[in-house]
């Protein structure tokens, strides 16, 4: 026996794949804790059916549209994504009978294209150097010019943070009596906004920390600062800190998770691990909780797990890849 914490039977029993979303394990990262009175916990969202936290969001977005009567089988769903939301939507839409079209930056890893096609999604590529901002702009134009699409729009739909308020954060509070700090990755803002609201309701003193990607310079190919994009669901007043993480540091910590905790996670998990460790060093005692958005499978072709940091710097991966 090596657990050392009260554990529950994993999984549970569900009527179908969509119902099996969520209920992910919360795992203590003992080797990363910088002091004895602080414990770091990570929710492993790779345990969702398509392997990422976005299963929660996609289910919430589709069920919200169904409840409002905005969609019915046969309606085409259109959504901008850097990959994970698209893959989750693709699984759910294939089961429910909604054709799916995703707009995705062209510089994402090949695995994301394969997974989307596997579930039957149609892919429209946006300019890679504009990152997710370019995908959002293109999808908004497409939706405006063709009213036959339904766009859930994860960046502006409260069903996104609600998935975390009702799911992710509620599950954390079921397992832990107190949360000194919560560290979430900032992409759409859904994880952070939903968890911040729920955790602050439980304890207003819980520190909410956003970790965001410092994109490589070659992924900042915007024409002007006016092409910047802030997802409408983000409310900065809910954040206590917002810290960027370079691709280099995120990859260093992704490798550390494998070596020291045996966790094969995506690169954004390395980023939130780095910030969790830093926050854990700064609080006196208690639980620091984070969410590891996905596993490493979809990023294998980037070489981040097999090449050294020096090799990744030399071949330009850290400057050009889009991991979030």
């Amino acid at each position: 026996m090596s657990a050392g914490v009260d554990s529950r039977p994993c999984g549970g029993k569900y009527g179908d794949t969509v119902a099996a979303i969520g209920h992910t394990p919360l795992v203590e990262l003992k080797s990363l804790a910088p002091k004895p009175d602080v414990r770091i916990w990570a929710k492993l969202e790779s345990h969702n059916p398509t392997g990422s936290v976005k299963d929660r969001v996609a289910r919430s977005l589709i069920e919200d549209a169904e409840v409002r009567g905005a969609i019915e089988p046969g309606k085409t769903i259109l959504e901008p994504t850097s990959g994970n939301t698209g893959i989750s939507l693709a699984m759910i839409c294939s089961l429910k009978g909604y054709p799916l079209k995703v707009v995705m930056p062209s510089n994402v890893t090949e695995e994301r294209t394969q997974l989307l096609r596997m579930y039957g999604a149609e892919i429209v590529y946006s300019p890679g150097e504009q990152g997710s901002n370019g995908a959002v702009a293109m999808a908004l134009e497409m939706a405006e010019s063709d009213s036959s699409y339904y766009m859930p729009y994860q960046y502006g739909n409260e069903a996104n943070p609600r998935a975390h308020y009702d799911g992710t954060a509620a599950e954390i509070l079921e397992e832990l009596d107190e949360v000194a700090a919560f560290v979430g990755g900032l992409g759409t803002g859904g994880t952070l906004m939903g968890c911040a609201r729920r955790l602050k309701e439980a304890d207003p003193a819980t520190l909410i920390v956003a970790a965001e990607p410092l994109q490589g310079e070659l992924v900042q190919g915007l024409r002007s600062l006016d092409d910047g994009f802030i997802p409408p669901i983000i409310d900065l007043t809910l954040l206590d800190r917002k810290i960027f993480v370079s691709n280099r540091d995120a990859v260093v910590w992704t490798k550390k998770l494998i070596k020291e905790e045996g966790i094969f996670a995506g690169v954004s998990s390395g980023a939130v691990a780095a910030i969790s460790h830093r926050v854990a060093s700064e609080v006196d005692a208690g639980n620091v909780v984070t969410v590891f958005p996905d596993g490493g499978w979809k990023y294998l072709s980037s070489g981040v797990y097999t090449k050294s940091i020096d090799e990744l710097e030399a071949d330009g991966t850290l400057e050009t890849a889009s991991f979030w």
């Binding site: 994970n84 802030i230 997802p231």
Partner: protein, 90 residues
């Protein structure tokens, strides 16, 4: 002196410079010092009322100043201000 790091999208306004030494004890003063040295950056950094433009993120070292004290956030000699366009993920 604090240093301002210039993102690719602003470099045409700084004559190609990637880093600019700036003056000031607050983020606001430091950015106004940048705008004084490179006037083309002013309208991109600031709104008409002198507030930070919506889609510009400014970090003191690696922390977003909007979640600190905004333009009033103090900066020291050895601090770096990183200017970035707001980018999403997802």
């Amino acid at each position: 002196m604090p240093t301002a790091k210039i993102p690719p999208v602003l470099r045409s306004s700084t004559g190609g410079e990637k880093e600019v030494a700036v003056d000031g004890a607050t983020v606001g003063d430091a950015l106004r010092s940048l705008a004084a040295q490179h006037p083309d950056t002013k309208s991109q950094l600031f709104g008409e009322g002198g507030e930070l433009n919506r889609y510009v993120n400014v970090y003191k070292n690696d922390e977003d100043v909007r979640v600190l004290d905004g333009l009033e956030t103090p900066v020291g000699e050895s601090d770096t201000l990183v200017i970035l366009p707001a980018m999403a993920g997802g």
